[in-house]
Amino acid sequence: MQNAPQESSHATGRSNRRRLKDRVQPIHLTVALIIVVGVALAIGNPNFLSMYNLDTIISFGAILLVAALGQMFAILIGGIDLSVGGTISLVSVMFVLLVHKIGVWAFPICLATGLLLGYVNGLILTRVKIPSFIATLGTGGIITSLAYLVSPRPLSAALDDYGYFQIVDGTIFGVSKTFVIGLVVFVLIWAFLRFTTTGRNIYFVGSNIKMSWMSGTDIALNRNIAFMISGGCAAIVGIMISSIRYGGDPVVGSSYVLSSVAAVVVGGTALTGGTGGVLNVLSGTLFLSLLDNGMNVVGVDQYFQQALLGFMIILGVAVTFDRTKTPIIK
């Protein structure tokens, strides 16, 4: 059947209307929200602006940022990584045990574990050809089981090992170390996306996978790299959490699935993939950290916070989802 409609060289009135809406991007809304929430909290609670509180926000926010940046890769390429919770939990217990046995080598091995798990996710996607949300749901469950197998109960670090934990915990030049780590990861990932071919290709694959395939892009490779980075970031988060708690716990990662997705989505990165970037994730993370902190200070129930997160994901996706890409919403 023939495609009858033809287009003219002139933009139609319809696209004029869209241009205005395009200029107000979700990230502007998030920043606005941050300002509003921040001001509201500052007014509502005198403790909010204390150094201690701000420091807490930044330290914990940095951890969420790393997780969200990893999740961003899975989402940019058009998928999602629901296994990050499992990886974080697994690494958190692994780290405590490994540090005791092999000292500083625990760092690279834990990181490698995260990369490997991410690679496995990528493999399942490409070889077994299952959509990422089911595949990572499944692998997430398996990895969480592994975490429990390694240590069914919370693990405390041995006193002798404290030195290793203090590599990440504490401050350096007056700034919390987790913040520095978060900053470093942020910059590295920004550079990766900006300056490397793979970074750019991840956007292309997320934006139009068919076109990318027809243009010769190595989809499997880019996918593997995206999920490896997600796994790697999850591993870093596991190490960070272990270090500041001086112990590991197989339940510790579960809340990060939701919050990492929320941070990415609320910041304006569409689940359809191919748009958004580190700044979006940063603003989303900042907003969530503020909200989290604010609610804790006010005394809101933790589970209610989760409910709120769920609500925001729905809202965030409703606003950013590119419906022209998939006319059928499943």
């Binding site: 059947m1 023939q2 495609n3 009858a4 409609p5 033809q6 287009e7 003219s8 060289s9 002139h10 933009a11 139609t12 696209s15 869209r18 241009r19 395009d22 550079a191 900006r194 300056f195 490397t196 071919t197 750019r200 290709n201 956007y203 292309f204 934006s207 139009n208 068919k210 076109m211 990318s212 395939w213 027809m214 243009s215 010769g216 892009t217 190595d218 191919g274 748009t275 590119d322 022209t324």
Partner: protein, 512 residues
């Protein structure tokens, strides 16, 4: 328009003055057509002549901008297929409108099952017996409970025709009209014979509009024919006594002014062979064929839908696997069935679906243009923003892309500009052979000319091209050489040097 038959007693559907415009083009212009009771009417026309728009107007998918439709003496204006089917007008398209996992019975009555409800539940027995009755009318014997996905294309068509008939009956349409869009392309000889004998039976209960490009079978089986060309009705006449040659004359022959396809810029190809296809075949798609393409040569692949040319292109670009033979590009033989291997060997593809397959719409003009050459825009191992901008600007200027900025998203640009961006992408890469699939479809005259200019320019720089165009004139005008495919075989190779080009009439004989 010539009408050599003025008997209007038994007209069921009458369309007068039908005009339909789309942005930039008039698809139908003052078309007049009559459908009579108990006849098989053949609807003929090239691609783009307006057949599908006319059909869609009949079944209510489009509404005419001007003109009237009269059914059984009453004026109608169906808005949607459901309204049309209730009036008795239904179409059976090539792609098929059957839900694959549902059974034959369920598909026959989908959304109209009210009559089968007993105590709120569907009566399987009633549905089955009604389905069997319909199958008997269509002279089909098959298992009505099996999912439709298991049926042959021929059987599926029959089921769809049965559905149209049943719905017309149900809603009391006295003179149903069944439109069949290219029904014979997917049938083998035996099935075709059966189809025609069923249609002859069906004539007694319905009027049939038969759309096909196979002139011979149309003339043999239709009572009257209508020929469309460039959105206008060229003729309505009885089929009796007509020869294929008579009709061919009516189908083609557009008036073009001037050097529309920049033939004076056509250059002779170089000597080096870029692409060599040796006895390549694909089971069920095309028989073994061989040809080669030289540097800077533009080869046009012509043939009807079903001739095998689309599958051939897909095999060359690595989108599909071929069953035997070989493909060599610049002495390399890329892996079969891998688009990536093809691209790495220097084969590029400008697809027909620009938006779905050609561009990353939400990404910028610059990003899309630079997609294939990012590795070259690096300094010190990292992508250099300045080099990116320069590269993009150069190509935007080169190809006359109209865009507010190189950072604008591609989604906001017109079709013509989007196409130029896709061309820039490939032409700035190492491509040695570019496959262009209907490169000027859906873009206006001005942009078409710019595309031709680019095609000529890059042919001169040594890039070989294989093109498939929307009209025979375009194919002939652009090509150095024409490859004709018919019924899955390569049947002819013709030279088309500027000034001594073959005419469309010569080619139509070979295609059909």
């Amino acid at each position: 328009m010539t009408t050599t038959d003025t008997n209007t007693d038994s007209v069921v559907l009458s369309m007068r003055g039908i005009t339909r415009r789309f942005p930039g083009v008039t698809a139908l212009n003052n078309v007049e057509i009559d459908v009579r009771k108990n006849e098989i009417l053949g609807l003929l026309g090239e691609n783009g002549a307006g057949k599908s728009v006319l059909t869609k107007i009949m079944i209510g998918i489009h509404q005419p901008d001007e003109g009237h439709i009269t059914l059984d003496g009453q004026e109608i204006a169906p808005k949607g297929t459901i309204e049309a089917i209730k009036k008795g007008i239904g179409a059976v398209f090539q792609e098929g409108s059957l839900i694959p996992n549902l059974s034959v019975t369920e598909n026959l009555f989908l959304c109209h099952e009210q009559g089968f409800l007993r105590h709120g539940l569907l009566s399987k027995r009633q549905m089955a017996s009604e389905a069997r009755r319909l199958m008997a009318i269509m002279k089909l014997s098959l298992d009505i409970d099996q999912p439709v996905s298991m049926l042959s294309p021929a059987a599926k068509q029959m089921v769809e025709i049965a559905r149209v008939l049943w719905l017309s009956e149900k809603y009391g349409a006295t003179n149903p009209i069944v439109i069949l869009d290219e029904p014979t392309t997917v049938l083998n000889d035996g099935e075709r014979e059966t189809l025609f004998s069923i249609l002859k039976d069906l004539k007694t209960r319905a009027s049939i509009i038969f759309i096909s490009h196979r002139l011979q079978e149309v003339l043999e089986n239709c009572d009257r024919i209508v020929v469309l060309k460039d959105g206008e009705n060229v003729t309505q006449m009885p089929a009796a006594g007509l020869q294929v040659a008579d009709v061919e004359q009516l189908l083609v022959g557009h008036e073009f002014s001037g050097d529309r396809f920049r033939e004076n810029e056509q250059a002779a190809p170089g000597d080096k062979v870029v692409l060599k296809i040796d006895r390549m075949s694909k089971a069920g798609a095309f028989e073994p064929l061989s040809f080669s393409v030289r540097e800077g040569e533009i080869v046009s692949l012509i043939g009807l839908v079903g001739s095998g040319k689309e599958e051939l292109c897909r095999c060359i670009t690595g989108l599909e696997k071929y069953s035997s033979g070989s493909l060599t590009i610049n002495d390399r033989s890329p892996q079969i069935g891998s688009a990536r291997a093809a691209v790495l060997s220097g084969i590029g593809h400008v697809p027909v679906e620009r938006r779905e397959e050609g561009l990353a719409l939400n990404m910028s003009v610059a990003d899309n243009i630079n997609h294939l050459v990012l590795d070259k825009l690096k300094k010190g191992g990292v992508i250099n923003g300045g080099m990116e901008k320069d590269h993009a600007r150069r190509w935007v200027a080169e190809c006359l892309v109209k865009t507010p900025s190189i950072n604008a998203a591609c989604s906001g640009l017109s079709g013509g500009n989007q196409q130029k961006i896709i061309l820039s992408k490939w032409l700035s890469s190492d491509v040695r052979l570019l496959i262009l699939d209907h490169p000027t479809r859906g873009i206006d005259i001005g942009a078409k000319d710019e595309v031709y200019r680019l095609i000529r320019k890059f042919a001169k720089s040594g890039i070989a091209m294989i093109i498939m165009c929307d009209t025979l004139e375009e194919d002939i005008g652009l090509a150095n050489r024409l490859l004709v495919m018919r019924d899955r075989q390569l049947v002819a190779e013709l030279d088309a040097p500027p000034g001594r080009k073959p005419g469309p009439q010569d080619l139509i004989k070979l295609i059909i």
